[in-house]
Each structure stands twice: as structure tokens, then as C-alpha cells.
Amino acid sequence: MWLVRPATHDDLDGILGLLQLAQANPVSSTLPATAEGVSEKIAQSVQALSGAVNPDAGQRLLFVLQASDTGAIRGVAGIDGRAGNGQPFYNYRQDSLIHASHALGISRRVQVLYPSHSLTGLTLLCAFLIDPDLVGTDAFELLSRARLLFIASHRSWFTDETVVELAGVKHDSGAVPFWDSLGRHFFNMDFDTADGHSGALSKTFIAELMPPNPIYVTLLTEDAQQALGVPHDRARPSFELLQREGFQCGEYIDVFDGGPVLEARTNALKSVITSHRKALRASEREDGDLCLLATGTGAAFRCTLAKVVDTLDDAIQAPLAALNVLGCQSGADAWVTPL
């Protein structure tokens, strides 16, 4: 069975192994690529869930996907309670201006990218990384949506709007058209270097190096214009999953690769709407619907996939194995939502 739970310090090696696996098919992730970076990220999450961090100040949470039989770490996913974590959160906002001359009878829509901090402080899904073999499987959906169940079960910790950045277009050659047309001129470094800094360093360097004035889209290369707000092919499964959850492409894009930022009203997310709280009962039944099942709060949060039979009262029946994976007793409270 699969289990999603908050990361602990013991998961470091497993996550590093996963990072190595992912290098064959790299997709930009906000998960740091170094041992120090991952270690710090785990520490932040552990500390946040120990209750040491006020949710309003922004908790940085990290979850792992674990195979319950082998204990192997197969995926990672994070939530930043407040995007930017106390610093500005950078995006470009796509907007249009109408340049019109009455005398000449000309009216033209001019697309402009405005530097924006507007999404700063919103709840952000981040640091998603999964074993490439699992992309598109139930485990993939579990890992991504477990975070949403965490949000549903800890709703007051998070903001009314939730956003996700998706990796933008990157050619197999390593060229990132949006970066090569825009960011490169100002940051004087290649995309991977900048992306690495973005995961590892404070965002001060973005403030220092990003062009302060709006950008006319028409002045970007054709290739870059095509890439605006378009997710990387390998981010497409996530894109589709998140769209099914109710996330939508808005007007914001990533400052580095031009990838889309998806936005949703937190209360309108499918996992939040459809999940409800029930008492968990162990049963021997093998039928039922495959559901995400989550128990526990904070550091004790656990989420798994199991066939569940709903009952007329405030209880559901789930296999004993699921209860074991969740580490709970019959009668425990659980959040449940269909897969």
C-alpha cells in the first residue's frame, strides 16, 4: 500500500535517491537539489509540525510518498502555507493594453508582462517530485491530493486561495525559450543556474536582477511567446490532475521559465468539497470505492488509498491493512474523498 505522511529526518537519503532518479527526466521542481537544501526543507517541515511555527507566519511543509511494504520513498510534495515565506513571491502578470488611434482608425491589443508580487502570502503547493515510473498512477494522484486533504483537515492554517507553479517549456537541448529571450539578459546566467539559486537561495537575487519595468511580449522571440503560460510536457499529468481539482490557469506565469501559475479558491477544490469527516471502522470487506483516506493532525497526518464502504451513519468501513498503514485504531476520525 501507499502512504503519504510528513517527512522526517530519516527520509533524507530516500529523497536524495529520488532526486538522482529524477535527473534522467528533469522537470523543474522547487525542491532543492542538494543534501543541505533537502535537509533544511525537512527541518522546516518538522519544526512547523511540532507547533513551533504560527500557521499565520507560513509553515513550510514537506510530505513523502512511501511504499508501506518496502519503506522506499517514491515521491515528495510540499505546501508553503504562505507563498514567499515572508519574502516577496515573484511572478509576471500577463495583461493587455489597447493602443488605439482614433485618427488613424487603428486599435491594437498589446500584451504586457508586469512584474508582480500579488500572489505573495497565498498558500502554495510546491516541491512536487515523484519517481518517473509512478507518473499517472493512483500513487501519483495520492501524493498530489494528499496535500489537499491536509489542507481540508487543517483548513484554518491555509488561505482562501491556493496556487501552484508548473514547470514551463524546456526543450530537450536544455534551452528554455522564455528564459533565453528574457531572463538571461538580466541575470547573466543560464536557466539551470538561476533555477538552482531559486530553490536554494533567498529570493533577494530575483529582486536585484529581475527587470523592474513591464515587458512587451511582442519583443520576445517567437519561441518565447509560444511558451508563455504553457506547462512542460512532463508537467502535463500534474496540470491535468490539478485542473480536475479545480485549479485554473490565471494571468500569472513564472519569472524564469514562463510556466503557468494555477489558481483556485481553496474551498472550491474538489478534494476539499468532497472530503468529509467520518469514523473509521475496520472491516474484512474487499468491495467498495477506492478513496483517499487521511487521519491525524500535524505531524501525525497520514494519508493512504483504500477501498472504502460508506455507511449510513457517520462511519466508513475500510480494510484493516489500511488502518495499520495509517497507524490508527478502529473508531478514529478520518477524512475521506473519492479517488
Binding site: 488611434s101 488613424l104 487603428i106 491594437r108 527587470p211 511582442t218 519583443l219
Partner: protein, 350 residues
Amino acid sequence: MLVIRPLQMTDLDDLYQMAAEAGKGLTSLPADRELLERKIQQTRATFEQDCAPEAGLYLFALDDTEQGRCVGVSGIQARVGLDEVFYNYRLSNMVNASKELGVHVQTPTLHLTNDMTATTEICSLLLSAAYRKGGNGLLLSRCRFMYLDDFRSYFSDKVFAEMRGVSDAQGRSPLWDALGSRFFDMEFGEADYLTGVGGTSFIAELMPKYPIYIPLLPAAARAVIGQVHENTVPALNMLQAEGFNFNGLVDVFDGGPVVEAFVRNIRTVRDSMNRHVLIRHRPVNVDVPPEDRVMVANRSFGEFRVTTVPAACLSPDTISLSQEIADQLRVESGDSVRLVRLKERARADR
């Protein structure tokens, strides 16, 4: 004899023909009869003092008196940007630096400005091809500085000229193709023409208002920012010799540079001197090279005349003129004229 005088309505045909020969790129005098007629009317109103001299348009004709024909024109616009809005890009530098990363990047940018508003522009220089010799271009261009000198109070302390930028034989401008055309549904020539006929409001309406980061432009466009058209190189050299310098502004369409100078520092102004006219009947050899000629101006506001005479006519207090020249200059014995050498000797001759 070639004499500078204020432009008049009878010059319209000659002016139109010169404008037509110049083709696209000369923004201020497009080949448009109606427009040229309006310009002449404006000029007449200026010289006849029917309008405030500070608001005037001063167009001068180079008159071939034997042919009775206008063979060149040059102008001064006393103030730009007061009726319309006058645009340029300012070539500016932005630095982004990160100590943490050891990155320091300079980004040249173009900012849309109206910085030349209320400044005097020297403009509209056209000279018939057959007359581009013997210092005629110098006479036509520099007579304006003599005028500015004598009537300084009507003009701004600083004067400027917009130099034609780079375009190819078909009239295509690399900067326009990379920048302007992205915002205007028209050709460079058409946009340039519209500016010339005085409708600049469309620039405000259609031009990008935010700074343009030059590195985003293709190399061909970057290369021409602040550069002049090859046909304009002599004009630029002449203005530079007068003390004009690039002031960091460029044309919004073709990227041609703006050069400027303080009137008091212009070489023609600094080197000019006064003499009293002495009319002599003794014949003078007028057929001398430009280096041996001086420009003589009659210092009249409304009947301004300038011509050239041999430097040999000069004495410490006076300048000797034939009756014919004096008549052309509309001066009499004893009148004060202002003069300056037409052309510096080449360095090796000194």
C-alpha cells in the same frame, strides 16, 4: 550669385521638387504640396512678425539669383513640442547587480521622453544635388547659426538637430522593423510621413510607454540605435565641427541621434565678427575656393540675407562689397554686417 533669404510662396514648386527628390526619411519636409504651402505660410507669418518670434518657423531659401530659383532650404523651429507633443527615446543605462551571486549586469534601455520640449530645433536641410559643392551646404546650414546669434532672445539657449537614422535603399529601418512596427500597423515611411505632416498624437496613442530593454531587440536593430544614415554623415560631421554633440536622445522610429549645442558655444557664433560695409567699385575676383570666402549676413530679422565674398574683401574695420552684392544683401555703406569664414582650411594647410 547664391544668396540666403527667407523662404517665400513663390518657392513652393522648387521646394516640392526638392522634397520629392529627398524621398522618405526627411521627416520635417515631406513631399506634400499642401503641407509645404502651410509651412511657407507659417514662415511668412514668422518673418513678417504676424506671430510671436518664439513660436516661429524660420525657413531659409538658398537663392540662385541668376536662375531665379530656390536651390536649397534650411530651417529653425523656434520651439518644438508646444502645440504637439515631441517624442524621443532617451538611451539610458540600467544596472542590476547581486553581490551574493557576483553578478553585475548593465542593460541599455530606451525611455520615451519629451525632453526636447520648448527647445529650438535646426531642421529641414535640403540642397539640390547639383549645388552640393563649393561650400554651399555650409552656407545653407551655418547661416542659421548667424541668425540664432543675432536674435538669441527668440530662441532657447540650447539648440538641437535630429539626424536621420539608418534605413536601407527601400526605406526599411531595422529599428522600426524590430520595435515600431510591432505597435503600428504601418510601414516606416508612412509613420515617418505622418509625423512630418504634424500628427504626432498617434505616437502617444500607439507607441509603447514603458521602457524598452535593448537586449530584447535583434542585433540588427541594436546596431542602429544612435547611428546616422550614410547620407547624413556629412551633415553630422558639419554639426560636430560646430560643437554639436549627441545628447543621448534618439528618434522613436529610426533611432537616429539627436545632437545639441548651446548657441553661445557654436563655432559659427563664437567666430563671427562685425564689420561696416564699404561699397567699392573696384572689381574683385569672386572666383575663390570656399576656404578663402567669408559668409556675410545683413543682421535683418525679416529680410535676412547671407552670401559669401572673398576674404580679401576684409579690412580691420570694414568689408568692401560691390554694389551688386550690397544690393543683394540689402545693405548700404556704413551698415553693420556680421561675418565668419565659410570653411576652415584643412589642417595640413595651416
